[in-house]
């Protein structure tokens, strides 16, 4: 029954991870990681993950760095950024490189994210 699409959400705030899981677990299999490194590990261990949503500012790797590495091994995965910051040059560049599919701003809007994910998974 593990047919529901798997999402990975990376954020250094555990509360964010918990709340995200609660809000999305109904429709998706949600995996969470507190850093980029952990995120990569999960991606390696769970190939079912199709969509990754990551924070931008994290200890160690930042969101873009993590995506860049992940994209090398898992080019078919669609990446989103969810950040408290306004859009930055780095993000714009990543968008242009098609490294990330879309950029979301905190506080997240459920509807917006759901729509975007659904669109990707079609």
């Amino acid at each position: 029954m593990n047919q529901t699409p798997a999402l990975l959400y990376v954020d250094d705030e555990p509360l964010n991870l918990t709340l995200f899981e609660i809000n999305f677990r109904k429709k998706y299999t949600v995996r969470t990681a507190l850093s980029g490194e952990k995120g990569l590990e999960i991606l390696r261990s769970e190939p079912s993950i199709a969509v990754v949503i990551t924070d931008m500012k994290m200890p160690g790797m930042n969101g873009i760095e993590f995506i860049r590495k992940a994209k090398e091994n898992f080019p078919e995965i669609v990446f989103f950024i969810l950040t408290g910051y306004e859009i930055t040059g780095e993000i714009i560049q990543a968008l242009e490189e098609k490294l990330i599919h879309k950029y979301f701003k905190k506080p997240f809007l459920m509807k917006e994210m759901e729509t975007a994910i659904l669109e990707v998974l079609k």
Binding site: I22, N23, G84, Y85, E86
Partner: protein, 722 residues
């Protein structure tokens, strides 16, 4: 007088010629008589002489115009004498031959002097007496064939007497008539002449004075009366002419009278003392007067008053002397020459200079010979010009002195006119050797000075130019420095400002991140709660909805504020961000919410058209925030802030109008100046509008302020779409 004399001569000639014709007429009669007698008494010696004599008479009459009148007179006298003597000797008293005597007398009285005529008359009368005596003594007698007693009955003596009578009578008649006519003519001519001379004399300005041999006045004309200071000639009666002259003058008169004995007239000067004692210098021309007998009858004098002219002449002589002396004293050469350039005068100085003497000048010395031969042509031209009246008075030449030394001169000359005709040249020659030398020296000094001045001026000029260029450079540098300083100041301020903004940006970004995360928790929580109520607590849902919505509103508003803050603090240099001016304006209003609330009514009149452009979003936020902030601050208590937007073909137009305090007209031009502020110190940097202005410029836009003090301000911004 000569005319009268000629008349008399003519008359005499006429009488002689008439007499000759008469004689010939008589001779014709005589010839007839002789021929007749010859036939009666035979051709004798007597007849031959008679005929020869008659033929001679014809001859003379024929050639009468060629024969001198003296000879003719002699011949006539001879003929008359012969006829007279012959007839008297032959006929005695029987014929009136004595009548011829009258004829002879008539002749001789016309041609001989009275004395000679008298003697001759006596001779003839005596001859007649002698013949009569000889007849009385019967030495002479009528030829026997003539009978004296019966003579008066004969025709021949009567005829002869008749002839004699006729000749004499007609001769006398003719001569007398002629005499009378010539006399009349002479008299009238004399009268006319005398009248002429008298009127001439009466009106003449020259005095005329006739004195007889005794020294008394015969005639004096009015001019002379004036000189003698008398009224009329009668005033001179009994006055001897010598009483008008001094002894000195009389001596001269005596000498002159003596000279005049030869018959010539003489002219001399005297001093005449008038009757009233005025002394005059007079010029006397005296001539002796002679009667018919060439005897002196007196003296006639024409007298001219030369007192004035003598004075003038003396003054002239004095003046001439003065000028001559002055000329001689002059340290110049003074000369006069005739038209040919021959010197007529040269002063001593000139004579010394050219080594010539008065004798040389008299012999003829040409001034040209003192000139440098090369300059003779020039001199001629100049002299011609001087006579035309167009030449210069002074001309420079080179002359040669007696030592053959050449020296420069200046000749000043002017023409001499005599009777309105150019007669020569007069002038002075100035030796200008010294002057020339001085001039040359002066010129040299002048040149040196000029060169010196020129050099100095050039140096000064050069220095000046250097100074000017240095100065210009300095000015330029100063301006550059000033500009650089201004720029630096600006840059510093902007740097400070941008540094502030940058820090603010970083801060804002950090804060917004830190706020956004909790907001995200709340949002996440809220989302989860809503879900939970949906799934499990359907009945409670409507009870908590209001609460949940409140939470949602809080999240949204807080997120908006954080987002706005981020917009303002963004500090990028990119100019190609898509900027929606409406949202920028709204962001600004969000930021100014604190200022606006309950105080200012915001009226928005946004256009429906797309109101975006590409530029720097952060900076545009800054620009509009400044404008809106100023508008808010200008409103003291309550008021209205109107924001209107519209588009034109190429531009976006934004107008922000407030009902605030307005700007003073004198401040209006300064509002965009950096650091200009009307706010209290510390309350504003004065950079707000200057930065706004700069940002609008960076976006190729325009900003304009209209303000009325106490009524409000309107800011109009025009930004190009592309």
């Amino acid at each position: 007088m000569s005319k009268v004399k000629t008349d008399i001569e003519e008359l005499k000639e006429q009488i002689i010629n008439t007499s000759l014709i008469l004689i010939n007429a008589f001779a014709v009669i005589l010839l007839v008589f002789f021929v007749y007698r010859a036939f009666q008494t035979g051709f004798g010696f007597e007849t031959g002489v008679g005929i020869a004599f008659i033929l001679l008479c014809f001859l003379i009459a024929f050639f009468r115009k060629r024969i001198p009148s003296g000879l003719k007179t002699t011949i006539i006298l001879l003929v008359l004498s012969v006829v007279f003597l012959y007839e008297t000797i032959f006929w005695g008293l029987l014929v009136s031959s004595g009548l011829f005597l009258i004829l002879i007398l008539l002749f001789i009285s016309g041609f001989l002097s009275f004395r000679h005529a008298f003697i001759l008359t006596v001779i003839y009368v005596m001859a007649f007496l002698l013949i009569g005596y000889l007849f009385h003594k019967q030495v002479l007698s009528l030829p026997e064939r003539y009978n004296a007693a019966g003579f008066s009955t004969k025709i021949l003596p009567w005829i002869i007497s008749f002839a004699n009578l006729c000749i004499v009578a007609f001769s006398v008649l003719i001569v007398l008539t002629q005499y009378i006519s010539i006399y009349n003519r002479t008299i009238s001519s004399l009268r006319e002449s005398e009248g002429k001379y008298r009127s001439l004399s009466e009106s003449a300005s020259t005095g005329i004075w006739q004195v007889n041999n005794e020294g008394y006045t015969e005639y004096v004309n009015p001019a002379m009366c004036r000189l003698l200071e008398i009224d009329t000639q009668s005033d001179l009666s009994g006055i001897h002419y010598t009483s008008f002259y001094s002894e000195e003058s009389l001596q001269i008169i005596r000498q002159e009278n003596y000279k005049r004995l030869s018959g010539k007239s003489s002219t001399y000067e005297l001093v005449l003392t008038g009757k009233k004692g005025t002394q005059r210098n007079i010029l006397v021309s005296a001539s002796s007067l002679f009667n018919e007998e060439k005897e002196s009858t007196g003296t006639i004098m024409s007298i001219v008053d030369i007192t004035e002219s003598k004075k003038t002449k003396e003054a002239l002589v004095e003046s001439e002397k003065k000028f001559r002396e002055m000329t001689e004293f002059l340290p110049l050469v003074v000369f006069e020459s005739d038209m040919n350039g021959k010197l007529t005068y040269l002063n001593k100085n000139g004579q010394k200079l050219f080594g010539i003497r008065d004798e040389d000048i008299k012999k003829g010395f040409h001034i040209v010979s003192t000139l440098d031969p090369e300059e003779i042509e020039k001199a001629k031209e100049n002299v011609e010009r001087i006579f035309k009246g167009e030449g210069r008075v002074g001309n420079e030449y080179t002359m040669i002195n007696k030592d053959k030394t050449r020296f420069p001169v200046e000749i000043y000359s002017s023409p001499i006119y005599f009777n309105q005709k150019p007669a020569g040249l007069r002038g002075v020659i100035i030796d200008i050797t010294l002057r020339r030398k001085t001039e040359l020296e002066l010129e040299k000094y002048h040149e040196n000075l000029e060169q010196l001045v020129k050099d100095r001026t050039e140096k000064l000029h050069l220095t000046n130019e250097e100074l000017i260029s240095t100065n210009n450079e300095l000015i330029y540098q100063r301006e550059e420095l000033q500009a650089a300083l201004d720029e630096l100041n600006n840059a510093q301020q902007q740097l400070v400002e941008s540094e502030k903004m940058a820090s603010l940006g970083i801060l804002a970004a950090g804060i917004s991140h830190e706020i956004n995360n909790p907001l995200n928790f709340i949002q996440g929580g809220l989302t989860g709660l809503e879900e939970y109520f949906n799934d499990n607590l359907e009945s409670h849902k409507k009870n908590v909805k209001t609460l949940l919505d409140g939470i949602q509103e809080g999240i949204t508003r807080a997120a908006k504020i954080v987002a706005s803050l981020n917009h303002f603090s963004r500090n990028t240099e990119s100019q190609d961000e898509k900027c929606d001016i409406h949202s920028i304006l709204d962001n600004c209003l969000v930021m100014l919410q604190n200022h606006l609330k309950y105080r200012i009514t915001v009226k928005k009149d946004y256009t429906d058209q797309s109101f975006t452009l590409y530029g720097n979003e952060g900076k545009l936020h800054q620009a509009f925030l400044n404008i809106l902030l100023n508008a808010c601050q200008s409103i003291q208590d309550t008021g209205t802030l109107s924001i209107a937007t519209e588009t034109s073909q190429h531009d976006l137009l934004i107008s922000v109008t407030d009902t605030g305090c307005g700007i003073k007209p004198e401040d209006l031009p300064k509002v965009f100046d950096p650091f200009f502020t009307t706010k209290a110190p510390g309350m504003g940097t004065g950079l707000g509008l200057s930065i706004t202005y700069k940002i609008i410029q960076e976006h190729r836009g325009e900003i304009e302020l209209k303000s009325r003090l106490g009524e409000g301000t309107k800011v109009i911004i025009k930004l190009p779409k592309y």
